[in-house]
Every structure is written in structure tokens, then in C-alpha cells.
Point group: C2
Chain length 384, copies 2
């Protein structure tokens, strides 16, 4: 298998983009990635999207987007594993280049979520849960994560304030990211006094509904070394699944899919949690960041809340987490999130992250998650 | 790259399966494929589904189905390219084994289409077309293929009767397939007198709305040779796209995505149209089979109608096409169709096709198509 590098990244301002359609948002973003890579044509494309059918009434988007991007007739594949669709697209593009099948692959993610009502968006997001055993009974996604949060507080003594601190940290980081949907600071008090969504989660514990895309260009590392910019390699890739219904799990505070995907990525890279300089995790809800850090082995089981309280994961901490602002502040166009995590990691490893730049970052990890942990994709990156 | 073989195939009776849910249908089918392969566990899964979100309100199905199949925590990926999703799943599984990443991969397709109203099903299928330039203006899928049919008749003199003969042939074949949704004969007269759907296409020119799944198990050819059954290898794979809107094409009677995908598959296999013994094509409408045979190079441009009239593609003809009954008689659960084509080809090449068995079939081709030709996947198979 060949070494694979990311040679181009693209992302535009996220938010409620009512004046742009799905194809416009994707093409604009993908052109930035192609420009950054210095290439015009690619051999194939992978696009992650969770539910373009329910959000904008358009399936078959891999062909549509290849066409509008001027990449006529190339193989173009849409992949879906709920909110981890973008990360999964990266994994397949990575495998295709590692295997020697292609030389240049464009990988992206897209979701256009604000063209429907809040009710319809909640329904569409709910299709990531088990419709027969969860959705049918009326539970929403915040409800599922509310259960996880309550169980984590009960089992490990995680506090309501610690949950809030995750959101505060990520908004602090996001305030330094001009592409973020909500680039401003919040306080613990504002989280604790925000409207209740699903006890104990309040609205400022939840990632928003967002329109946006992200894209990256991959090639063999050998090709990347001939270009005039730092080489960022993908050194490990993992993908695993779990039951999508929480009721089928032994312990709802533990994310087995994240653990298994990380284990696979660490093994491939021959690295461990102690080697990682920066991390982007899937903080769809504040409790998610806490559980993910535990499953990644960054902190011990039950210590995720303490980690944020002690500043371990802040911009100045030992292992900065979600320097981009995370899903919380940057926004969460569900299919795009996994690809946007890669954009942030690559910018950091290249030293192009502006005000939120982490010094001497050399190894990064991106963790993307579907549903309430029914799937996860983990990648490790290294700057040569 | 390693040689890849299909060692297990599974399919259950297709139709309106109101007493089974999506997960039941898939698991039942996948277990047949695993049994046929003589394996219990696989390393990963690829599932094709066009629109499980719109049809049954369930995305994230790759995780769900891996879980219900007892394949805990394995990487499981859903792919989508409208009605070619099943064929695309095969291609990705094939690449994963060819690259040496996995030893055993389960590939399947599923669609549960009859839990919604006819109006809703038509809407969901319409999401394979360009929503902004086609769907918005009210055109349905039969309407798009009606335009193609009319243009083909005008340009090449294809007759209304020739279109009907495609349906008659495929129902004849389907009458010998006990798993087909409509396993009975029809006549040219009955097609010509059936209700008009989108001029010139009548209801018996159209494939039906179907619930169903299909699954196959892949492994390295070297592993397959140690088993006690004929070895069927995948010797070529191609995937290409085209504009999904007909209005963007130079000639709507020509399927460039099919041509490009076939060219790639032929080149990889070092074979040409003259080498093929049996073919399964994507006859979502009668005109589609005619256009596809031309794009595959089986007949000259414009001669697809003559081919069926002269019996070239019948069970007794030089190149039998759609021995399974095709989408027309076997049924068309959109995401499953590409995988079911592989089931038929493998059964034929193994000599297990019962009453519809083609003697001395050694090389087979499966062609799967998304939308009105916006994507296509072509595979070539050979019995050792």
C-alpha cells in the first residue's frame, strides 16, 4: 500500500445559506480544495451526505456534483453513515489511493439543512437513530444524548458545569475561526441558563443546524513531496460500527465504535494517544466530546469531564481539542463535518490556522461519529 | 492487485413484502449468501440503498444491518448512486479485496418501497433526477425515459412493437425464475394495450415498485479455489457518471456513463463485447435495455430494437440478456437491483439457473444504472 497525502483543503463560511443551493455550496468549496492542491482534474470523487433526500429532495448527488464541478464522467460515489459520512468518504478515498487505483481523488461532504422546517430537520436527523426501536417511540437525537449525559453524570460524577465547559471552550476556539457559523464566545452561565432541550442538555449543549460543505484532495505522498508546501500524510484510518439503538448496548456511556475505529487507526499508524498533538472530535452535544475523549484513550474512562475542567483540551492545554470551534461553534452540516475536521487538522499541521494556531503540532487526529455512536471513523495525520 | 471471486450469493422472493421490515428482508437475504459461501463472519460490508430515508425513514442502515446480521463492530458502508447503488457496493467490495485490505466482504443491496403511497414512491424515485432542472418542472422518471424512447424511435426507426418485445422477452425469462415478483408471460398485445404512463411508454414497459434485497460474498480467488464449487471471478469493474439532467446531454439516446463504465471494465478484463456469453442489464424501462445494449457495444448504435426483434437477446439467442427476468419481471427494489444482477450471473456461470440455464456460459456482464443514465456500474465475471 502506498503512503497517502492531503494536498488541498477547502471550506467556505458555514451558516444558514439561503441564497445558495446544495450544488452551489459544494462546487464553491470543492474549487477551493482543487485550487489549494493546484490541480484541475481528479480521477474520482467520494461525497459524504447523510440525507440529501430528506433535506433537499435530491439523491444521486455524487453524479450531480461531479458534473457541476466539471469532472465529466469520472467515477463519483456518495457514502452515508449518518453524521460520519464525511469521514467515511475520506477513508474510501484514502483506500483508493493507497491501493494504487487512483492518483488524485477529491473527497468531500455536504449538507443543506435549512431549507426545511425545524420539525422536518429533527425528523431527518432522527433517521440516524433506530426508527423501529427509538424513533417510533418519539425520542429525538438530543433525547438520546440526554440519556447518555445523565448516565455519565450518575456513573462518573460528571457535572452539569463540566458539560457547559465543553461548549464554552469550543466557542472560544470558534471565535478565532472566521468560517464558523457562530464565531463568538459564550459563558458557563449562558449555557446553564439557556433553554432546556432534553434534560440535562440545554440548547447551548447542542450543535446547530447548518448549511455547509468541506472538501480535500488526496494523492500519493510521493506526488505531494514534489509540491511547494508542507506534506501532510494520512498515517492511520479506522472505521467501526455499533448497535444504533442505545438499548442494545451494555453501557451507554461507552462508545465502542469510536474505541474500535481508533484502535485500528492507532495500529496502522503505529501511534497511541500519547503521540497526538491536536484533535478534532465529534461534539454534536457537549457530552459527546467527553465520551469520545474517553473512547479514544486520551483520558481514562469517566475522566472526560475533568479533562475539560482542568484545561487539558483547551487551546493552551496539553492536547487541544476542537481548535476549529468543533461542531458546536463551527456548525454541523451533518454530512460535511467529517471532511471539515480534516480541513482543520491539515491547516493546523501546515501552520495556517491563524489566531488559533497550535505551535509545533505535528500529529493530528480526526474523529467523526454517526448517530449516537452507531458508527465512527478515525484518522491520524502527520506532517513530514 | 489480487484476483477476486464471488463465493456466495443470496436472494429471496421479491414482491410487496408487507409483513417484513427492511432489516428482516436484508438479514434473511444476507444469511443465504453467507450460508452459500460457507462463512459466518466477514471483515466488512457494503450496502447499496437509494433512498431508505424517503422510503422507510431510516438512514444509517449500514450499521443497523451489520448489527442485525450479527457482524458486530465491523466497518459497514452504505453507498448510493440512485438505482446503481447495488452495483456500486459490489465495486467497492471488489476494490477492497483486490487491494488486500480485507479477505471476506459482504456486499448487498436493499430497498423497501411499498410502505409508502404510490405518490410518495414516485417522489422518492424522482430524487434520482435533477430536482432543480427536471423534478421542479414536474417530470417523473417514466417521463424522462418516455423522452428517450421517443427520440430513439425518431432517430433510429425503433418501433413501438420492439419496445414491447423487450418486456415480453424479460417476462418469458422471469416466468422461469421462482424469485421474480411477476413470474409470468405477457404478450406484445398486452403491452400495447396496457395503460399509458408517459407516451410512448405504457405500464408494461415499466419495471415495478418492489421490496427486496440481494447479497453476495467476495473473497480472494485463491481462497475460493479451495472451496468445493465452481470459481466465479470478477475480471473487470467500471464506474462512470454523466449529467443527471437529460437537457445537458448532446444526445439523449446515448448513454455515455454506460459506455465509459463498460470501456473500463472491458479493458481491465482484456475482453470485448464479442467475448460475453450472458448479460444482465438495467431494463428499468423497455427503452433502457435497447439503449444500454448499444452503449455496451453489443449491437451498433440504433440497432437495439432490431436485436430483440431478431431474437439475438432471447434465452436461445446468441447473447441472452436478462435471463433472470430483468428489472421488468423480477422486480426493481432500486438499491438491490445491482446486487441481484450478480446473483443471476453467478448462478448462470455455476450452472445453477434451473429452467433458464444457458449452456456453456463462461463469461457474464452485469450493467447497473442510476437515474436516466447519470451513473452506471459495469462488471465482468468469468468462471474458471
Amino acid at each position: 500500500m502506498r503512503e497517502v497525502a492531503v494536498i488541498g483543503v477547502g471550506m467556505t463560511k458555514w451558516g444558514e445559506l439561503w441564497d445558495k443551493s446544495l450544488r452551489n455550496i459544494f462546487v464553491e468549496t470543492a474549487l477551493l480544495a482543487l485550487d489549494d492542491a493546484g490541480v484541475v482534474e481528479v480521477n474520482s470523487m467520494y461525497v459524504g451526505s447523510m440525507s440529501s433526500g430528506l433535506f433537499v429532495g435530491q439523491e444521486h448527488i455524487a453524479s450531480l456534483l461531479a458534473d457541476y464541478l466539471g469532472q465529466s464522467n469520472i467515477p463519483s460515489t456518495r457514502v452515508e453513515t449518518a453524521c460520519a459520512s464525511g469521514g467515511l468518504a475520506l477513508r474510501l478515498g484514502y483506500m483508493e489511493i493507497a491501493a494504487g487505483i487512483s492518483e488524485l481523488v477529491l473527497v468531500g461532504g455536504i449538507e443543506k439543512m435549512t431549507d426545511v422546517s425545524g420539525y422536518e430537520a429533527t425528523y431527518a436527523l432522527g433517521t440516524a437513530a433506530d426508527q423501529e426501536y427509538e424513533g417510533y417511540h418519539g425520542i429525538t437525537f438530543p433525547g438520546l444524548y440526554g440519556l447518555i449525559a445523565r448516565a455519565h453524570m450518575e456513573k462518573y460524577g460528571t457535572t452539569r458545569e463540566q458539560l457547559a465547559m465543553v461548549a464554552v471552550k469550543n466557542h472560544h476556539n470558534g471565535s478565532k475561526n472566521p468560517l464558523a457559523q457562530f464565531p463568538y464566545e459564550i459563558t458557563v452561565d449562558s449555557v446553564l441558563n439557556s433553554v432546556m432541550i432534553a434534560d440535562p442538555l440545554r440548547i447551548l449543549d447542542c450543535s446547530p443546524i447548518t448549511d455547509g460543505a468541506a472538501a480535500v484532495v488526496l494523492c500519493p505522498a510521493e506526488m505531494a513531496r514534489k509540491m511547494d508546501k508542507p506534506v501532510v500524510k494520512i498515517i492511520g484510518s479506522g472505521h467501526a460500527t455499533d448497535t444504533i439503538a442505545l438499548s442494545s448496548r451494555k453501557d451507554i456511556t461507552w462508545l465502542e465504535a469510536v474505541y474500535k475505529a481508533a484502535k485500528q487507526a492507532y495500529a496502522e499508524a503505529d501511534k497511541g494517544p500519547q503521540d497526538i498533538d491536536i484533535i478534532e472530535v465529534h461534539d454534536c452535544f457537549t457530552i459527546a466530546e467527553i465520551c469520545v475523549l474517553e473512547a479514544l484513550g486520551i483520558v481514562e474512562k469517566g475522566k472526560g469531564g475533568d479533562a475539560v475542567e482542568q484545561g487539558l483540551t483547551s487551546l493552551e492545554g496539553k492536547i487541544p481539542v476542537n481548535t476549529s470551534g468543533g461542531l458546536k461553534a463551527k456548525g454541523h452540516p451533518v454530512g460535511a463535518t467529517g471532511a471539515a475536521q480534516v480541513v482543520e487538522i491539515v491547516k493546523q499541521l501546515r501552520g495556517e490556522a491563524g489566531e488559533r494556531q497550535i505551535k509545533k503540532a505535528r500529529i493530528g487526529l480526526a474523529q467523526n461519529m454517526g448517530g449516537s455512536g452507531g458508527s465512527s471513523v478515525v484518522h491520524l495525520f502527520e506532517r513530514e
